[in-house]
């Protein structure tokens, strides 16, 4: 098999690497004791998590009334955070499924961390609708099953129920995807493990993987199958989330563009979160040669693209609200921009539309501190997008006598902070005990895209196209024999 890739493309793995060195670089941090920084970070994360637990306890004990919601604004921070976290959970599957189908080699450097991030983000998202139920002990009512409650069934016509299915399917497939890819690497850790417990633990986690040809073949077939299944899921989950709003007749919510607009926004924020995490991870674990500037630039391009789609959606909804000539549509956007929450809309536009335009400059796309700051700015913007859509469409509704202003109270804020705690606790544990980069997938692109291998391709690059073609055909003929 001829390994060739145009020398125009920059290497995906820098430095002089062979298969063994790749394993060494990525696995060895797991085998060492965690550093001080890790303990401090974990301490912070667990503290935030505990504060979240306390906030949720308070809310469950006293009831939803402790939150700032009122009769007009029945949905606010809670659902904003839900949509925000689910959105972040989109990057992982996009990278692992859609970029796999599009055969983007650079996904190998970032897919593992992004997939893990996805799962943790969806776990965080799931908390919000569950605890918003108030009487959370009745949560099982949302599951449709023959029950003793007589004719009391879930409402299959409600997008909220579709959400339950959409998000839980997404979580299931994401976990399968992430874990099946993890198995060969876990087996590698097992084989290298010196301590008895580590050997036992990773042995258990690797399901007895031995690395036979048959196993590899099945793993790759499974990967393709799951990619095929989760590609529509990338689109469907946030489409269904958007339908929580768009199926209503509330101006500002009822828009046909919502499904793809939400999906684009989700990928936008998801990639921003991947940047935030990977820029830190590559630095702390010294993985700069695997998560290169090229990877960061590629992700910044996706942020730019999806940011552009989202910007176009903002323009479209604004224009069509005017164009519709429906006074309520026009009113909703009037109050969105010029009402007492004008500052939220300004933040949204600044973070999501204006600032990403700086990525038109290649220098800034490849600038790490700038990318890091932007990744956070984008997620602030995306949080405000959901806040603007949800609260700013509700607070001035059809009846002026019902118009209110909404402010959150501490248990809502605490709950949100708590999910950050949950997220970072999970991520820190993952980064410590599992390889944050897929070793076997890096190996699969090493011979075509590794820096030292690419240097050898100069000869192929020089070769006349005609000659190159003959060589390829000759090799095909040999392979056929």
């Amino acid at each position: 098999m001829l390994h060739y890739e145009s020398t125009v493309r920059e290497p995906l793995v820098n430095g002089n690497k062979d298969y063994h060195q790749v394993t060494e670089d990525i696995i060895s941090p797991i085998e060492k004791k965690p550093g001080k920084l890790w303990w401090i970070a974990l301490g912070f994360a667990v503290t935030m998590l505990l504060f979240g637990v306390w906030s949720v306890f308070w809310e469950t004990y006293w009831g939803i009334g402790v939150w700032g919601e009122n009769r007009t604004v029945g949905w606010a921070w809670d659902i904003t955070n839900f949509v925000w976290w689910v959105g972040i959970g989109h990057a992982g599957t996009l990278i692992s499924a859609i970029l796999l189908l599009f055969r983007q080699g650079w996904r190998t450097g970032v897919n593992r961390a992004a997939e893990a991030m996805t799962i943790f983000a969806v776990l965080c998202a799931g908390q919000f609708p569950v605890w918003h139920m108030g009487r959370v002990w009745l949560a099982f009512f949302i599951l449709p099953y023959p029950n003793s409650r007589g004719p009391l069934w879930v409402n299959f016509n409600s997008p909220l129920l579709w959400d339950v299915f959409a998000v839980s399917t997404y979580l299931t497939v994401s976990i399968l995807f992430w874990y099946s890819g993890l198995i060969p690497d876990v087996a590698t850790i097992r084989d290298r493990a010196k301590k008895k417990f580590a050997k036992f633990f990773y042995g258990l986690c690797s399901f007895g993987w031995r690395g036979t040809a048959k196993e590899w073949q099945r793993l790759e077939a499974l990967g393709l199958l799951l990619a095929g299944l989760s590609t529509p899921l990338v689109l469907s989950v946030h489409s269904v989330v958007s339908m929580d709003f768009a199926t209503s007749v509330i101006p500002g919510w009822h828009e046909t563009i919502f499904p793809p607009y939400f999906v684009a926004g989700a990928i936008f924020s998801g990639f921003a979160m991947v940047q935030t995490l990977l820029i830190l991870t590559r630095k702390i674990l010294h993985l700069e040669e695997y998560v290169t500037l090229g990877h960061i630039e590629a992700m910044n391009k996706i942020i730019m693209l999806t940011g552009g789609i989202v910007a176009m959606a903002y323009i479209t909804e604004l224009f069509i609200a005017w164009y519709s000539n429906v006074v309520y549509e026009q009113g909703a956007f009037w109050w969105r921009i010029l009402g007492p929450y004008w500052w939220a809309y300004i933040i949204l536009i600044t973070c999501n539309v204006v600032s990403p335009q700086l990525f038109w400059f290649k220098k800034l796309r490849r600038n790490i501190p700038f990318t890091f700051v932007m990744s956070i700015v984008v997620n602030i913007g995306m949080w405000f997008e959901r806040f603007v859509i949800i609260v700013l469409s509700l607070y001035h509704d059809y009846m002026p006598s019902a118009w209110v202003y909404y402010s959150p109270r501490w248990p809502e804020v605490g709950f949100y902070i708590g999910t950050f705690g949950l997220f970072f606790t999970c991520y820190l544990l993952f980064a410590k005990y599992f390889p944050v980069i897929a070793v076997w997938e890096i190996r699969s692109v090493l011979k075509t895209s590794g820096e030292n291998y690419k240097q050898k391709m100069a000869a192929l690059e020089q070769k006349d196209t005609e000659e190159f073609l003959q060589e390829v055909q000759h090799e095909h003929a040999l392979a056929a024999h």
């Binding site: 060739y4 145009s6 125009v8 393709l224 590609t231 828009e255 919502f258 069509i320 196209t465 073609l469």
Partner: protein, 402 residues
């Protein structure tokens, strides 16, 4: 490698026959279609057909730019086919421009009701839209959009041909292409929406949908993929384009498959949200389609644009089979033609529209023009971008993991 495209006689003949049919249908329509229904039919078919082919050409420029920006190499083996489609933007733009201007100048109020003084006097909803829906702005935007698309298509083609004449290994043209591609993508993102609002959505002047631009894009893009597949296969059958093999065909099959699902997603999201909300101003748009005269075509549209490619192109073997891909590309192309038909006809002729000799004839005329123009453009340059840095990647390209 310096392969030159020789226009096969079949291409030339088909093109000439189809164009003749188109001209005959046009003349027969001009003199034979009388009365209220006849005149409406005559003009609305010209409007949607000319826009359909203009949007397809623009979609090929979109594909060209998107692939350049993504630094893709899978399409390089038949990049010249994509180029040959996109360089016809000026021709289809001129045709569409003439049709649109004739509609405006000839006061064909049934196409754009917002040009009708009587409608404006009585319908406050339509009257309120006149800051956007007025002849002056319509013409200005149309000119800007058509000029922008045309100039950028010619510019990108020029860069591509310059690369052929330069030395091998020069990368300047790659970066230049990327630069202009970025310019076009940004321009296209705005203009695909604005143009679709003006040219198509405003025909149903009271109605609105934020999804509309996406919908027009999805339909034209999938039609483009069908056309590229048909051209590639036909050229291959004439014994040319030897670099293209089943691996490349597989990609095209994947695109038809995936974007048929994407189109259905966009279709469903738009239809479903309007249906669920059930606000009269919005849902009335679908009335002639769902419950009225167009019910058959409406359902057929869904079956052939979703069910057919979804079920028949699912397997790997189907995507790598020349016959299967040809048949499905033909069906899907017809399906999206029908979809454009449904964007216009149910509004203009809620109870009388047909798919008859005139509709088919005019469309064949456009198809013939497309075949002729693409063949001519293909014959004017080497069949492969000989100096493209990714040509070798295209040679060893593999579409599956097997």
């Amino acid at each position: 490698m310096e392969e030159r495209f020789v226009i096969p006689r079949r291409f030339r003949n088909t093109s000439l026959i189809f164009i003749s049919i188109g001209v005959l249908a046009f003349l027969a329509g001009l003199f034979g279609l009388h009365g209220d229904v006849g005149v409406k039919r005559f003009w609305s078919v010209l409007v949607f057909d000319s826009l359909f082919f203009l949007y397809i050409s623009a979609a090929s420029l979109f594909l060209y730019c998107a692939a350049s920006l993504a630094q893709a190499s899978w399409h390089i083996a038949y990049k010249r086919v994509i180029e040959a489609i996109m360089v016809n933007i000026p021709v289809f733009a001129i045709i569409a421009f003439i049709v649109l201007m004739a509609v405006l100048i000839g006061h064909k109020y049934f196409i754009y009701p917002w040009t009708d003084p009587q409608v404006l006097a009585h319908d406050t909803i339509v009257a309120g839209k006149t800051p956007f829906l007025n002849v002056k702005l319509f013409v200005i935007f149309t000119v800007i959009i058509m000029l922008g698309w045309s100039l950028l298509s010619l510019k990108l083609r020029q860069i591509s041909l310059q690369e052929d004449r330069a030395e091998r290994g020069v990368r300047r043209f790659l970066w230049k292409t990327i630069f202009f591609s970025a310019v076009f993508i940004a321009f296209y993102a705005v203009t695909i929406s604005v143009s679709s609002w003006h040219w198509l959505m405003s025909i149903a002047a009271r109605w609105y949908s934020t999804m509309y631009g996406w919908y027009v894009f999805a339909g034209s893009f999938i039609s483009l993929m069908a056309i590229i597949s048909l051209f590639v296969i036909a050229i291959k059958n004439s014994g040319q384009l030897s670099l293209v093999n089943k691996e490349h065909l597989h990609d095209l099959g994947k695109f038809i498959f995936a974007f048929s699902i994407f189109w259905t997603y966009i279709w469903f999201a738009q239809y479903f949200l309007l249906w669920y909300g059930n606000i009269p101003l919005e849902s009335q748009y679908f009335r002639p389609q769902l419950w009225g005269h167009y019910r058959f075509w409406f359902l057929l549209d869904l079956v052939i644009n979703f069910a057919v490619p979804f079920l028949l192109l699912m397997t790997r073997d189907a995507k790598r089979n020349y016959t299967t891909v040809t048949i499905i590309a033909l069906i899907v192309f017809f399906g999206h033609w029908l979809d454009f038909y449904l964007m216009v006809m149910p509004t203009v002729l809620p109870t009388q529209g047909v798919v008859g000799w005139y509709e088919i004839g005019i469309t064949l005329g456009f198809v013939g023009l497309m075949i002729g123009l693409v063949s001519r453009a293909l014959s004017r340059a080497p069949l492969y971008p000989v100096n493209h840095p990714y040509l070798k990647e295209a040679i060893i390209h593999k579409s599956d993991w097997g």
